[in-house]
Symmetry: D2
Subunit: 139 residues, 4 copies
């Protein structure tokens, strides 16, 4: 991969360390468990605080899991990209004790625009959501 | 409005009370400040916990504000609807001390599907995001 | 408007003339009826050729109307932009003899990304579809 | 697959025959080349009529290819579904002589909602677009 050629393991490790220290990862319990150029996987344990008036896990929380994988994947290639658009399909509601896994793959890494695909599954491999997004490189 | 005809103020007040007691509203500091059939407005104060590795407010947090207005608006018409799809365009990053206002209007309330439009602005009226979504009535 | 400051009427007229001569406008019967910086309106008459196996107007045809307004609006500001993402909600099916009107407004014209909103209505003002899109300036 | 259990080959052949006779397929040169429950593949030859003022293939034409695969896949399961939402990412512009192949897979076939994923590639396997959509069963 040409992307990988330009990103060394030291850069990835440094980026991962920055993510681990960011406030929102701690606040929402999102853990970046795998990172390579153009790919990221994030785990997120559901909590009672995430429940809605209907007794379901809040959809915005599922988005947070996917969005974190998205942000990490598009920023894993040695440049900074900002999300500009994000579309999600909610397939199944997570259980209240689920551990979600969000994966993101960059399908187009262009000079002016990145396009990425995400899935969110639970600990049993059940599909919870599928999403896509657009990011813009700014450096 | 034909929607309004079928929803009385008592139902709206009861629904609002349920939202106020839900865990995720407290957890994320989302306040439902206005509700009428097919419309909802939600305020959400930004917090240091919402910052990312880049020092920006996390995009998923902006989604949470919009998604809450969406959930309230589509459930304000006397039946229960579940979000199945959500698309957002991030227009400008919120400042770290901003108070976001998310508004949602249902543009189509059908027998089988609802379509809604959302905006997120800050305390100065600056446009932060624009979004649309699909919800499915289940009762 | 700062956009308008940089675009003179001669440029707009020249751009409109280019659109009028393009092959796909003739092929699909799309007429650019109004153009100003960041705004475009396109009319499109439905035809028997656009019907599907269900006897409805093909959804892709409704998209074409919206996409043409989108392309014209984002290219009306004196620079060239390419659509990179497009999301549409189909609200009501057009009648077989309808004349559709697609309108597009650019809601964010940035250095690196444009975001636009579209509506498609019929000759009675009935809402047929609502859409949003992302375009990238390349010049 | 439970979907397949309820759809016999005769139903699929009848549905395919209906699609082959529909006006819009002929008009746009879209050919349904493979159909099974929850899956469809459509070929579409590019033509000079599809070019825009920029000399590119019109984005709405790429959407038509994807939308046709979408319509066929969600209607291949023995019931009628109507598209309600469609999101596409344009990855690369087709060449003027390309033959596009649009594939659609239904990832969720629910009682109230279908979610599908599409890709559009050219004759060399190059990715032209990736899309997702929501459809609502009406029978």
């Amino acid at each position: 991969m040409s992307i990988a050629d330009n990103v060394n393991q030291k850069d990835l490790a440094e980026f991962k360390a920055r993510v681990e220290k960011e406030p929102v990862s701690s606040f929402l319990g999102m853990e970046l468990v795998e990172l390579s150029p153009g790919y990221a996987r994030v785990n997120m344990k559901m909590r009672p605080e995430y429940l809605t008036f209907n007794g379901y896990i809040y959809g915005g929380i599922v988005v947070c899991a996917a969005d974190q994988a998205f942000a990490c994947a598009v920023n894993s290639g040695g440049r900074t990209s900002i999300a500009t658009q994000f579309n999600i399909h909610f397939i199944a509601g997570p259980g209240p004790d689920d551990v979600l896994t969000a994966e993101c793959r960059v399908v187009r890494k262009g000079r002016r625009v990145d396009v990425a695909e995400m899935t969110v599954t639970n600990q049993d491999g059940k599909l919870i959501a599928t999403a896509t997004g657009t990011a813009i490189p700014i450096s």
